[in-house]
Assembly symmetry: C2
Homo-oligomer: 221 residues x 2
């Protein structure tokens, strides 16, 4: 039986959804590690739609997070509502603004954000069963928010951005600076994180950090 790693996507495109490079590199690293990706996303509208050529909002346009995330997975994706902690051995969150706009409202509310209830539920189910989890790019903010009201608080990295790391610490987690090709491993809470495009200048260095994260995740199962 292959080890099953849940991959939570937040749309399709760095500015309003999942960062596509990070997502695909995650899927490739999982397959190359001999594990199986179980892709999922919430069935909700995106916060908004950004024209990725101009960076402007496409006023009036609506897109659904699950439907757009299905582009990255070639249609093979589940509504996160249907995935239970017992169905998977580990959970990974690629980044992209979708993590801070769709999975949570961190992009708008900062440390006062809330997380989509099904995303929070699944993270806490994994925590309860002491199954490992991983977060890349801006996604550590989601993990920090979910752990905010818990008795333990993880060590996380988003690279070295002072504003975002301060907000992570305001939510109770500890932030540790990290280079893009590297990872921060919280052994006690079984949480791995990597800066990815919070720091990355090239796709290769982002890939190196994500590959290390996925391999560590598989090792911890």
């Amino acid at each position: 039986m292959k080890k099953k790693i849940g991959v939570v996507l937040s749309g399709c495109g760095v500015y309003d959804g999942a960062e596509i490079h990070e997502a695909v590199i995650t899927l490739l690293a999982i397959d190359r590690a001999g594990a199986e990706a179980v892709c999922m996303a919430p069935d909700i509208d995106q916060m908004h739609v950004i024209n990725h050529l101009t960076g402007e909002e496409m006023a009036g346009e609506k897109r659904n997070v699950l439907v757009e995330a299905a582009r990255i997975t070639r249609g093979n994706i589940k509504d996160i509502r249907t995935v239970k902690g017992e169905d998977i051995d580990a959970l990974f969150f690629p980044g992209g603004f979708g993590a801070a706009k769709n999975l949570s409202d961190f992009a708008v509310k900062g440390e006062a954000c809330s997380v989509h209830p099904e995303v929070a539920r699944l993270i806490l189910e994994l925590k309860e069963k002491q199954k490992p989890q991983g977060v890349a790019c801006i996604a550590p903010t989601v993990m920090a928010r979910v752990y905010k009201d818990e008795t333990v608080h993880p060590i996380l990295t988003i690279g070295n951005d002072p504003q975002v790391s301060e907000k992570i610490e305001k939510m109770g987690s500890r932030h540790q600076a990290c280079a893009v090709r590297d990872i921060v491993l919280d052994r006690e809470n079984k949480i791995v994180s990597t800066p990815a495009y919070m720091l990355g200048q090239t796709i290769s260095e982002v890939a190196e950090g994500i590959e290390k994260s996925v391999n560590e995740l598989v090792r911890m199962i």
Copy 2:
């Protein structure tokens, strides 16, 4: 100076645009080979928009190929109209239905298809300068169509699909069967091709064929 490899995208998503895994794996392989990707797409509407969760057409919805392709490139993309053969050292086409729906109308017209004039122009400029080109998945049909009226005809692969390979041969190219992890190299015409998701069952095997293609492309420059 890094070698510049043009990457022609046809949208963002396997069923109506560029195959996202193939595109990202191409960008990663180019960066890891020490070369630079120059991404481009035509500034036209997609043939249609497919809901990748259900496989159904989203009636009434319109999306632009260049704008959607910009999701894969984090906004770093050019209108193909502005790219000249002298600007790049090689050219690569990932697959996805977008190659057969947006870059050409092969999906509708088969061997009677036509290719977007700027795509055809750029391919012929590369040919003229004897610069290497690569095609993955269904994209060899575009190459076959552009070479149809030339005096030389390339050897190409789309894996082993009898219907598509027959259409490629009707357009004058020679089709050679190939495994997903492998490539077909036409040394005379400096064209490399790989089946990718025309055959691939896993992202790893698709990656292996594309990585070999990109490395061969860089070697031929």
